[in-house]
């Protein structure tokens, strides 16, 4: 490949315009916000991956995050609190099915309005109870990840039997209110990430059939999902694990055609036995 001489090295308006972009800097605090968000995202995905986590553990993770973020000087304590306080209550809500339903719901009501906008995309853990509890029915999973509008009743506060279905509906409740806001993409993405994590745990647990069902559920819930390519990559792997080599190869071919992003394709050829 012969590289053309860059405009930016020349003189005149073209170089001037490009140089102005080179000097462009993120506003004050932007990097710090990214770091805080990164820490929160790691905590969330670590939690999702910890299949055997108990309420106690989750609470301690939240507390530990709080501690760690202060300790490493990621930002002011206020900033850490802004992220972690809502997350801690979300954790309690998510585990409600196994731990008594009343107080957490009240807490969630309080917590959600003050969630800072920049962190709207933090997973709201709509499906977090699933990895915690015994293997869920696919149907329950779908209702948990789909942004289903709730029944029209305005949050009866104290009559929730601790069933996953109710928990899922309750968690999905803010969706209509956010329908037009920028947070929609964030919470949708959170649900997508959770779904992907569940596919991965199913695969890691040797349950390829379950992983395949979850990919189908994901595709039904997010026809144009941001992580569609990831889901397809996982489907390739699940098909290969299930011994359905030809289908795995066909799926891989589709992935290569539609999403030639190298990171996802890295090991798949080997996995399907090419």
């Amino acid at each position: 490949m012969t590289e053309p001489v860059r405009f930016i090295g020349s003189k005149g308006l073209k170089a001037e315009l490009l140089a102005s972009a080179k000097a462009d800097r993120a506003p004050e605090g932007s990097r710090r916000r990214a770091l805080v968000a990164a820490a929160a995202a790691v905590a969330a995905s670590t939690k999702a991956a910890t299949a055997t986590a108990t309420l106690g553990t989750l609470a301690r993770v939240a507390a530990w995050k709080w501690f760690a973020m202060g300790a490493v000087g990621l930002g002011t304590v206020v900033a850490a609190k802004a992220v972690i306080a809502p997350r801690a209550t979300t954790v309690e809500v998510s585990t409600a099915p196994s731990a008594g339903p009343k107080a957490p719901h009240a807490k969630r009501r309080v917590a959600s309005p003050i969630r800072p906008r920049a962190f709207d995309a933090i997973p709201a853990d709509p499906a977090l109870p699933l990895p915690v509890s015994p293997p869920p029915e696919p149907a329950a999973n779908e209702s948990a990840i789909a942004p289903v509008p709730p029944a029209a009743k305005p949050e009866p506060p104290a009559i929730k039997p601790p069933t996953p279905a109710v928990a899922a509906r309750a968690t999905a409740e803010p969706a209509p209110a956010r329908a037009a806001g920028p947070s929609t993409s964030g919470s949708r993405l959170a649900a997508e990430i959770t779904a992907i994590d569940q596919m991965k745990s199913a695969l890691a647990g040797g349950n390829a059939a379950d992983a395949l069902r979850r990919v189908d559920a994901y595709r039904a819930a997010f026809p144009t999902g941001t992580l569609a390519a990831e889901a397809t990559a996982l489907r390739v792997e699940a098909l290969a694990r299930a011994g359905r080599r030809d289908e795995a190869r066909a799926e891989l071919a589709r992935l290569r055609a539609g999403h030639p992003e190298s990171p996802l394709l890295e090991n798949l050829g080997q996995i399907v036995g090419e």
Binding site: K22, R25, A38, A41, V42, A43, A63, I122, S262, P263
Partner: protein, 196 residues
């Protein structure tokens, strides 16, 4: 309802902490190493200043969720290709929303008065974004990585997961469009100066 007290636990108390700590350290390294370039990349892809944090956060969430699958050598590649996807999607959504008409949003972008030199630069940047906005996103991505981040074509191919021939042809087309557009702007500016 808490079976255990929610105390400020020491890290060794938390079962997942060593792993979480390692993951967090890795994501933090990734952010530290690539933040500025990623930020500029998103901006030049057309993500507005006020949206960059959100888009960046989505990228980092995806990275965090897929951390175990990202090879150390492809961290940059993963971040940029993910940023490209998320930014493109965000822009599509924004544009479809914008058709409802919220020009005010764009006007609030630079609310603070700036010193002259900076204003000059901000004006140049606005003009650049105007030129870039006329390009398809695919061309724009390759063009900005080559011309602004000064990456090689091979690096861009790896970064965006594209065949090198595709990068070469996109870059060629992007440079042609850029040149033509800027020349047109320059001619307009000259006309205005000559005939006030």
């Amino acid at each position: 309802m808490n079976p255990e007290p929610l105390a400020l636990a020491a890290p060794e108390d938390a079962i997942v902490s060593p792993r979480a700590q390692a993951r967090e350290a890795r994501v933090r390294r990734m952010v530290e190493a690539h933040f500025d370039a990623l930020w500029r990349f998103m901006r030049r892809l057309g993500v507005e200043t006020m949206d960059v944090d959100d888009v960046m956060q989505q990228v980092l969430e995806i990275a965090a969720a897929r951390l175990a699958d990202i090879a150390a050598s492809s961290e940059r590649s993963f971040l940029f290709s993910t940023a490209f996807r998320v930014a493109s999607e965000q822009r599509r959504r924004r544009q479809s929303r914008r058709e409802v008409g919220d020009a005010a949003l764009t006007r609030t972008e630079d609310p603070t008065p700036e010193p002259d030199a900076l204003t000059e630069q901000a004006r140049a940047r606005a003009m650049l974004d105007q030129v870039l906005a006329s390009m398809p996103t695919e061309l724009r991505a390759v063009f900005t990585l080559y011309e602004i981040e000064e990456m090689t074509m091979a690096e861009i191919a790896e970064l965006l997961g594209l065949p090198s021939g595709t990068v070469a042809s996109r870059l060629r087309r992007a440079r042609e469009q850029f040149e033509a557009h800027v020349d047109r702007l320059q001619a307009q500016m000259r006309r205005k100066q000559v005939l006030p």
